[in-house]
Each structure stands twice: as C-alpha cells, then as structure tokens.
Symmetry: C2
Subunit: 536 residues, 2 copies
C-alpha cells in the first residue's frame, strides 16, 4: 500500500488518502503554544503543559481513534462533508494532506467546491491559525452553510476526564461578536482563557455541545450541521464547545478566505475583567487583529517557513543518496525539534498526562538541537540543572509549566546525573560559550540553595563515585537507562509501578551501563575541568 | 414529555422510548460483582472496586454519552439493528425497557423479529447473565447474523485511560470453544481474569477491536456486523474486546434463547494455569455451567426476585397515597441498597476512579439498609471502624477492594467520627445485637493496634471534646458535612483541591453543625454507655 510521498522541494510529506493505517500526525508550535494535528484534522492544542493547560479536549483511546479536532463542516444542500474527511467521512472527490515544517495543509474537493485548510502556530503568538479557503469550481452558484467546531478542555486534562461531579457544573463561556471565549474557573482561581475567532460576521454559534450535536449524535453528524442552523447556545456547565456558523454564497469560480484563530491568553491578576464578570479581552483582540486578512496570514506562514529555512541551514549534507539527504537535511532535524519541545510527553500514544518532561530525555534531546537553537538549549540546560538535588541525584521528570522536579514516576535512576554532563559539554562544544558554567543555578528549585553550573556537573560526577557497589561499579539505584529493568525493586501488587514502589530489596545491583557512561561523560567532565584549570 | 411509567405489580419502571433526555440507568449486583446498565444497554461491570477491578471499558464524557456497553447486533440481510436501539440507532418498531429490582429487560421488535434481553447479576455468582430471546413474528424464514460485543478494560480504570505507552502492549486473550477469556497481566502479577460466554456453538468471534469495528468506525456500525462475518481475531495488545458471531435461522413463530455470561474469576496463585500459559478455567466453567439452559436462568431470576421480595417485606406501609406507598415500599428501599453497595463512588456521573467509599457516606448509608440486611450492616460497620485512627479521627474514604483508608481526597473532616456512632447505634436499635460492641477492631487497619468497637465509639466521642475551639464549639478541621465550605484552607493554585491543599491557615473555625451532631449522637453514645454501665 502506498499512502503518500515526500515532496522535497516543499519539504512536505504528502498523504494521498485519509484512510491511513493510523492517524498520521504533525506537531505544531515553536515556543509555548503547541498543537497536534492528524491528516484528518484531528488532535488538540495546549499551552506549555499538555496536562495542566490543555486547551481543547481529546479522547485518547476513543472509538474510533482520533475523533476530535478542529473540524469544519460544509452543507451545500446536497452533501454534508468535512474538509479533512473526518469526522463526516463523506467520500471526497479529491483529498491530499501536506504535513510541512510547522504547518499542515489539507486540500479536498466535493461537489464542485474546493477546500484548502492550512493550520499553523505562528511565531510570536499563542494561537493556532486555521486558514480555510473555499472555491466554487462549478458553473452554478453555491450556497453553503459552514460550521466550525472545537471542544474545550477544562484545563487540567486528567481532572477533565475523571472528575465529573465538579466538571459538569463549571463550564463557562462568553461570546462577543465573532469570538467565542472559554473561561471556565476564570472567575475563581485562573487568570487564563482561550478563544476561537473568525474574521467575518457570523450567522450563528453554539457553545453547548448537546445543543450543537444532539444528545444521541457523535461528531460525525451534528444536528445543527444536518439542519444548516445554529442554536446560539450559551453553555453553563456540561460540555462547552465553540462552533461558528456562516452562510456562504460562492459565484462560479469565486474564492473565499476565512481565518479562524484558536488562541490562549493570560491576564494580570488585577486586570482580569473589563467590567463586572466580563473578561478583559485585550490580548485576544490583539492576536486576532494580527490575522484578520489573507495577506497577514500568508506573511506569517512565510515567516514560519523562513524560520525553518534558517534552522535547517545550520547543518546540511549532500550525499549521493537522496534518502540520506532528506533524512539529515529535513526530517531528522525536524523530529529533533519536535522531541525537544514535546519531550515525548504528548503524542498520539503518550496522553500528556503522566510524565512531564524527563531529566534524562531532555538532556539527551539537547544534542539533537543545540546547533539549531543554542539559546534554547542553554535555557533548557539551566532549567534541568535547577531540578538537580544537592547530592547530585535527580528527579526523573519535571513539569514544564512549573519547571519543578517531581517524583511522580520515581527517582534514583543513577544514570540521570551523568546526562547533564552530556548536554552541557555538547552545548559548549557547539557554542564555545563557557560562561554557562558560571551561571548560578539552584538545587531542587530552591533559590536559597544554589551553586554554579560547574558545581552541578561536579555533583553529577561525584554522585557516581559516592554510590559504588561491592565490585567498585556504580550502583544502579532504581534503574539505569534501561529503566524497565528494575533490579532493586519488585512488587506483586497489580498496577503498582516498579518505578515508584517502596518494596526496595536490599540488593547491591551495579550497572555496567552507568560505568560505561562514567568513562564517556566523566572524560567530558575532566576535559571541562582542565580547560578551567580546576581539579575534578 | 412522557418517557415511561411505574409498573407497581412487577415493581418495574417502564421506559417507553430509548431517547430519554439522558441515559436512564439501573444498578445491578448484590455482593461483589456489579454492573451499571442504561435503557439502551450501555454501561459497564466491575468486581468490588470500580477503579481497581474494572471489567469492561466505559468512557465517561464520551461523544455521544453512554456509547459502550453489552451490545447485540442483528443483521437480517435487510436491516442492521441492535436490541437496545443503541449503538446502531436503527428505528425500532417496538421498544420498551423495564428496570426492575436487580435486573433490566429491554424488549424490541424490528422487521418481524422480536427481541427480549434480560440482564441481571445472579445471587451467588460473580457474573452478569444476559438472556437474549429472539422470535420470528412473521410468516417467512428469517436468517440472522448475531454479534455480541463487550470491550475489556485493562483492570485499573484510571491507568486504562491514561497510560497507553504500556496498555497498548499488554492486552491478552484466550478463546476456548464459545468462551472468550480476558487475561491481561495474568501471566505477571494478576490472579484474576474475565470471560464472556454463550451457551451455543459459535460461527466466529473477534477479540481485537480494530478487526471487529474497522479502524475508522465507531460501535455504531462495525465492519463485521455490516458484512455479516467475523475475523476470528486474537488480540495482542491494542484494544481487546469479546464478540461472538452466531448464524441463526428462525422459522415462522420460532423462538430462540441465547444465554451470555460476562464473568469474573480469581485463581489461587499456585494454580493459575492448567498447562504452560493456559488459563485455569475451572471457576469460569462452573459459573457458565450454572446458566446453560433457559430453565436455569429463569430460576436464577426467580431467586433474585424472591431475594428482593424478602428484603422489601421487612418494612412496608399502606397509605392512601399510591406514590407514597410506591416510594417507601419499593424504590426508596431499592435506592438505599444501591447506595449501600455503590456508595456514590460509581454512577453515570461519578467515574468510579476518584473517591473510593466515604467514611461519612458509608456510615450514613447504614441507616437506610440496616432493617433489610443487618448482617451486611454489621460487616460494613466493622470495616469502617477498622480505618479509624487512634485519636478518633478518620480517613475520609477507603478503597473497597483493600478496605484500607486513604487520604486521596483529604482527611480531618471533624464530623466524620460522629457518623460512626450513628451507624452503630442504628444497628443496635434495629438488631438488639449488643455483641458488636465487643468486637475487636484495628485502628488504621493495623491488627497490632486494636480495641473493642465500644472503644472506637469512645474515641469518636472524645475526638470532639479533644478538638474544641475558642468558643467551646467543635473545631471544624478541614470541613464538616458541608464539605465545600473549607474555612481553614485556601489555595490560589488552579486545580488544587481545597480538601488536600497544604495551605492551611491558622484559623480556629468552629462548626455549629458538628456541635449539633454532638448533641444528637453524643446522646446516643451516652445511652449505649448507660446500657453497658460504663462511664462515657
């Protein structure tokens, strides 16, 4: 089976059927606002942390999989279809999905209407831009009812799927002109909100899911879409969504550009409201204003492409193997950037709930991106080192929103400290920026207890020497890099993680892997010491 | 709108349309095996604990709601329909759902085939029996392909919906004749398995969800159902299900009875296998054998009805108000039994994940059932008292599987201890069984540290006196019965529960409610002391 091909000129992977064996996805975002998008427009968005700031709702393990996203429904009186095939799954005459660097474009055609949906997270804004072009390719006038649709997550993705006693009572929205605002818990303890806008006057909207879909319907065929209308519903609790309705008339050959913005914003705690219980919308309005016209959107996409052009130009090869060139020059670099940002904590198989960012993983991720974004590598190194413990040990993960380490999936993985030496030495080799070693960095995120980054490396190095076993090899602790091999802990209790169980046997298991790491990265540390004229 | 009526003779609530405003549900089960079932056959089953021993998978907050259950699909060559309307939602010619005491029956008719599905948890067995009758009401031969369907949960309901890195790799099944066994993690740390059987030879089966449904389909129209076939798929990881396929021919007026059993069983740790990696099926086979014939099932249902007849006969009234009689004699008692068993920890709005059984709630629940099942009230009282702390305080909840208290949703609710006095005094008043006070009961589930139940009551009583505020009123602790009013704790952190936050202010908030409780239940305690000639 052939599902697509690489377009090396455009640096895109082109998927030629929506019916891939599983969702084929792209990762969007450059700094704080991130999205996952499948080849049928499924997926979700989050701000910084996929657990604590989930913006739209997504059901892992849904039936069928990948059944929520940013969806656009068209009803032309004859057919109801959606521009990414799903969720309606009406047969399309043309379909093509192009996953590019930081954007995804899905082109489709049905019954003499062409659609092109371009989705990207622009540089410098906390939002996802959705540029929808429609064109009448026939020779008769087309009258179309268009519905947009996203479902809001009530911020904490884990709570959102477990605590219904509370969540069914808390949903809150506000609608102003063509913008639907999600502000659950904003009155109480949150200072952030989300919004979904379109750059045209709308003919209706819905914010209550049951009103839009109908109680017995899935997203496949919402009542409002089938009937070509809107309920203008205001959600109070239950399941808040955002859906715009626009009545569109297209003359033969006429094109129409619609720009939707799905955004996130924070307000100062003392400036949350513009009047009693009315959201201060200043920030949202500024972002929306930046994407009102087709020209603005096209320019933002060009900026994003230039950004990637620059990133990828730092290291290229030209071999006589097309596939090797493609991998090294485009896709491996792109994947490394994705890994740097998402750190395997959110994907279509990691639910973004359990693990935060790994200490080991994130240090390793540095070496894949340090030649592209050294300043971000520097920041990440300092964030990671700030979670290190005083004895040189490390939390195994930290939460990207708070940047604090936590033991949720265990600690005492004795390989962890050495990976910090890897990331720092790689950074210095790439940048020659020795000043990073003088940065003052807390232990355990405690600003009262800090030392130079060099001292952190020393603690990493000594952590191995301070934890040697009976054969003079490093003690493994809870595990080393092969962290499914938990030699010192075992539990017969179903469901109890070996990584967090307290049933630790009095074993002195040693790790040859950590010993090898020590030889490798210990040498890097010694080289750093020599350069600084310090004694290891 | 009228959706149904009470049938007082049968003690059933009769729902006359599947399209109720939300799922209208029944709670099945009498001791350890429990099920929830909606009027469209949705819902799930669990053993003892809805979080730790979830048997079938259910998605709270699904779109649409209530979209998984024990489903039976019929394909007669002209129509595909399901006997509970959902999930196919094909229009039925007749539909009626009867929620009875411990059972639910759904009657339907489509295209000259009548169906009647009776679902109940029989006394003395850890299973749900599903008795499906089909009848050809027309005058031509009917050839029907029948598919059953349940989806297995991988035991821990929370892990099942969050940890896909693991769960997509662990699913394991075994198929033997007409029985599909679910045995995920059985090889490793579990000694329990589930199964789904039918009392006939089957013409096919599926245990892999994607094979049965098709990757892009919901449960509304599985590929195998549409095509009238089966894949005989064996799940390895991904999403294990159980689906039987039977080809059925019905002559005019012919009836057919099929009996499906959805069961749970545990094996001794040293007797888990009948041969290498082959499940020891003895217990499942015994249960299945008890429900092979229509007569066996009808007798089991009669036993269940007699059981309820007896329970309800302990207290009846005859007023001149039909609704009063109905409430007191049937439905309030039934609800109280449900509350006793489920303790509001699993419903269509409580996901069964978060709270375990409440100390306060479960003590209160006693007074609704003590006249019906005093021996179970006794057992529950002793279980609850065993989680009490030495100073008389209490964990706010305990997990029904382990019977151990936990602080997951907080502690120090200063009303909690007094509810134990309520339950014990109610029990004694109803039964005159003073011996319960002499039972030796641990504190904090520690068998090394125990005292008589009477001593526990004394600690409850003294816990109030030991915790008085500046006005001589009881200190509220974290909260009293109105546990949304958390006077002593506050957190600005979004998502942080007031009930578990460590930000406790140095307030001396007192509770008039606890003071009133003390007057009421303190008096009960003093009465008990007098009876025993003890000094309070």
């Amino acid at each position: 089976m052939n599902f697509g091909y690489f377009d090396d000129i455009s640096r895109e992977y082109v998927i030629t059927t929506p019916e891939t064996p599983s969702p084929w996805i792209n990762y969007l975002g450059n700094k704080d606002f991130f999205s996952l998008i499948s080849n049928t427009a499924g997926g979700y968005a989050f701000f910084k942390d996929p657990r604590l700031r989930r913006i739209t709702r997504y059901r892992y393990n849904d039936i069928p999989v990948d059944n929520n996203g940013r969806y656009f429904y068209l009803n032309d009186g004859e057919y109801v279809w959606s521009v990414g095939w799903k969720p309606v799954k009406e047969k399309l005459e043309k379909y093509e999905c192009r996953h590019g660097l930081g954007y995804t474009r899905i082109n489709a055609e049905k019954n003499e209407v062409q659609s092109s949906l371009t989705v990207f997270v622009p540089l410098g804004h906390n939002c996802e831009v959705q540029h929808l072009k429609l064109k009448n390719t026939g020779d008769t006038v087309k009258t179309i009812t268009l519905h947009s649709y996203v479902e809001w997550a009530l911020w904490d993705a884990l709570d959102d799927m477990t605590n219904f006693q509370r969540n069914l009572s808390t949903g809150e929205v506000e609608v102003k002109d063509s913008v639907i605002f999600h502000k659950t818990e904003y009155r109480e303890r949150r200072n952030h909100y989300a919004y979904f806008s379109v750059n045209e006057d709308i003919d209706g909207f819905d914010t209550d899911r049951d009103s839009f879909l109908g109680v017995y319907n899935g997203v496949e065929m919402p009542d409002m879409v089938k009937n070509g209308t809107s309920g203008n519903s205001i959600a109070h609790g239950w399941h808040p969504i955002a859906s715009h309705m626009l009545k569109i008339t297209l003359m033969p050959n006429e094109c129409k550009d619609l720009i939707f913005v799905l955004g996130y914003a924070e307000n100062p705690t003392d400036d949350k409201f513009e009047e009693h219980q009315v959201l201060n919308k200043t920030q949202a309005n500024e972002t929306i204003k930046a994407f009102l016209t087709k020209t603005q959107v096209e320019e933002a996409l060009i900026h994003l492409k230039q950004h990637w052009e620059k990133l990828l130009s730092n290291f290229t090869i030209k071999s006589n193997d097309e596939k090797m060139d493609r991998m090294v020059n485009i896709w491996n670099a792109y994947q490394c950037m994705t890994t740097f940002h998402f750190s395997r904590s959110a994907s279509y198989y990691e639910s973004g709930i359990g693990r935060g960012m790994g200490f080991r993983d994130s240090n390793q991720d540095i070496i894949g991106i340090v030649h592209m974004i050294p300043e971000k590598a520097r920041e990440r190194i300092l964030d990671l080192a700030a979670t290190q413990l005083e004895d040189g040990g490390a939390y195994h993960q930290y939460q990207p929103l708070t940047k604090k380490g936590n033991n949720d999936i265990g600690g005492n993985f004795n390989d962890d400290p050495l990976w910090l030496i890897l990331s720092v030495s790689s950074y210095i080799k790439e940048t020659n920026d020795w000043s990073i070693l003088n940065e003052n960095v807390p232990f355990n995120n405690d600003p009262e207890n800090s030392a130079s980054l060099f001292e952190h490396l020393k603690r990493s190095f000594n952590h191995v020497l301070d934890n040697l076993g009976p054969h003079g090899l490093p003690l493994i602790g809870r595990a080393d890099w092969n962290d499914c091999l938990n030699l010192n802990c075992y539990s017969n209790t179903p469901g109890e993680s070996f990584q967090t169980t307290q049933h630790i046997t009095e074993s002195n298991a040693e790790s040859v892997f950590i010993a090898a790491m020590f030889v490798l990265y210990g040498k890097e540390y010694v080289n750093i010491c020599r350069q600084l004229n310090k004694i290891p």
